[in-house]
Symmetry: C2
Subunit: 452 residues, 2 copies
Amino acid sequence: MTDEVESVLSTVATEVAPTEAERTRLEAVVDEVLAETRATVAELAPEAEVVHVGSTARDTWLSGDRDIDIFVRFPRSTDRETLRERGLAIGRAVLDDGEANYAEHPYIVGSHDGFDVDIVPCLDVPDASQVESAVDRTPFHNEYVRRELDEDLTTAVRLAKQFAVGIEAYGSDLRTRGFGGYLLELLVLEYGDMRALLEGAAGWSPPVTFDPAEHGEEDFEDPLVVIDPTDPTRNVAAVVSETNVARLQHYARRFLAMPDRFFFEAPERSPLDGATLGEHLSARESEIIAVTSHRPDILDDQLFPQLRKSESGLRDALDRAGFDVLRSRVMADDARWAILFECTVPTRAAIERHEGPPVALEDHATRFFDGYADDETVTGPFIEDGRYVIERERAHTTPAALLREIDLEQVGLGEHIRRTLEAEFTVHPTDEVSALLERFGTELRAYFDPEP
Amino acid sequence: MTDEVESVLSTVATEVAPTEAERTRLEAVVDEVLAETRATVAELAPEAEVVHVGSTARDTWLSGDRDIDIFVRFPRSTDRETLRERGLAIGRAVLDDGEANYAEHPYIVGSHDGFDVDIVPCLDVPDASQVESAVDRTPFHNEYVRRELDEDLTTAVRLAKQFAVGIEAYGSDLRTRGFGGYLLELLVLEYGDMRALLEGAAGWSPPVTFDPAEHGEEDFEDPLVVIDPTDPTRNVAAVVSETNVARLQHYARRFLAMPDRFFFEAPERSPLDGATLGEHLSARESEIIAVTSHRPDILDDQLFPQLRKSESGLRDALDRAGFDVLRSRVMADDARWAILFECTVPTRAAIERHEGPPVALEDHATRFFDGYADDETVTGPFIEDGRYVIERERAHTTPAALLREIDLEQVGLGEHIRRTLEAEFTVHPTDEVSALLERFGTELRAYFDPEP
């Protein structure tokens, strides 16, 4: 078994290491981009410094990666507006096809000789705990990792990244909420090699805390806590969802029990077809409803937290009305988003119970009785367990009816999602869910065949 | 308003008082029965004493009543077997058509000149707190009430009884769980007249306690507590249900607000017809299921507590399975019983969620995963919130299917009801509920038009 783990790891390590040719090519492109950026900076912001960061700077990139991250570090005294303007100007000057990308902080994305290049302005702060923006922290991470990693550890980082890709948990973006490169680098440093990392993760009992620099100052509520060695106030793993922590544990155990290259390959899902969808629907006999609308003009890192908040708000509304949501899922592409709810209760009776006060509370009770005694639309008032009770019409007897008539003010929704819903939305009940197949067929496949 | 209350009460008082002719007739029959019983007792049990008890002995009977209760009081030293044998022999000798009735204590029921006569053997104990059977207590009640009641109070007792009849809460039997004659006598003695009793009841905040002899020794949990003036350990109102206490309060208020003879008349319900049933069913869109079986050979006082226990056990099972019971009702006639359940959830999805352990609990988690990983009948295991979850086939997707296949050992049921269910039962879902119309049409009318 031992041998097999090592044997698979060594095979994969060879596959994911960049070839000499790739390496030579990348270095040449990096040198060119750095030279051009430095020349531009000398002209437009001579006080700034140019650094190459990210996985290509740390040698932790995977064969096939084509990302070059260039940071332009301005003196700390630079005001926000100057930073922004000059930073974007430099990026545009270097990258012919450069376009501004506005995350927490604006920067330029473009390409050079077939590589994807980001040119990112940031501030040069004395240490990472004094950053004004997340990007100011990157150069510190870069220095730390370059200092700590040797060749074997670098190999282990590549394996860890490829494993995270294979289990679909790679990336610290808010769509994935998985393991980012820096986090995996720190975990590898913590455990010393890939096998030890997998054995460690297999046995985690979250919450699990690591503090490589032994300087953590705060308590975190996250399932996985890795205190940033460059910033005692930050949990590098804050973004990792409970599910992704569990997923790493699950697949680490599976791999160790049954080592196979398979675990390092992201599953390829074909979009679900209509016939298979029909089979799932008739086997489940549930009510599957999708709410869809157009995508607001925001990035995934803004969209997905809002979609999840909306998913939770609408799910609560469905649960409160007694439709018992079994599972739900958010999905989005460039043009539209959808939230799918699967309800265990397809319909409820046309009436619902409404309890009045105990008969003994004379004033309340009399008011309640008088209010309903002549109401032809209700059954009762009658008495049960000492209280007046009536049965009245239920507002919505199906989940689709509830969603179609929902009061958007009464539901927890992401702000941009609320606005798209106010403009237009469609509710697809079970017999119209196939309308999602064209756009979200792959997501639907994953919904009906969920894996750990 | 005052005048109207008094005026209605006085009209009803006249109507419910036995006429001179009735009185004369009753007295003649009582004298005959007493004489015959005494003659028989002199022969068969010369040590025993014969007393006339109950409402005809206290003059609190209502016009039209035809009940004569004769108690044969044996010395306390009499053993149970002798009491039983001689008691039944005396009754059979006096009443040509006498038949044994086995309640807590066996006695003879029969008739004489058109009156219903009970001849009940009991023991002569020194005081009511030393009774061996509930019937031993009756002579003490009789003495107490005869001593305390004057003519006005007697009139008020008749009004109180007729009011309880009108609101369908008259009787201390376990089917009704209402107000028995002795309890109403005590309440009238407590309040002094009918109007004061109604005004008092209208303002009760249960639990309400009365202790006319100021000798109560125990705390009772019942909503209405009236300590027996002949027995400090007994709550005369123990049998009264919370609903019937509330019902008395409700109708007392309604009568005082709008005095009318109507309140003293038991509602006459025509059996529900099929067309009206159909209208109710389609307006409610609920699932109404009836379980029916044959009546076990027991008295109402045994049957109804068992039916209610079974109602509660089956209701819990339906609720646990997520069919959300809105209301239920027990019914019985001489040959069959039925329990009706109205479910808010007519069907549930064919699948249900089954949560496994947290992935972090390695041994448990691995066992769970391995147990389901190759199970083609389930969806998953997948991970949600750090746990393994599967979706598996639900045992029953409709309330009728659940009841048809119910494991009788797993449900709280009355013992005789369990046995009838083991022998045979029928489950009628909504579209077959009309099968109950012939036997329980009046009960169904009351179910769909419930009154306080």
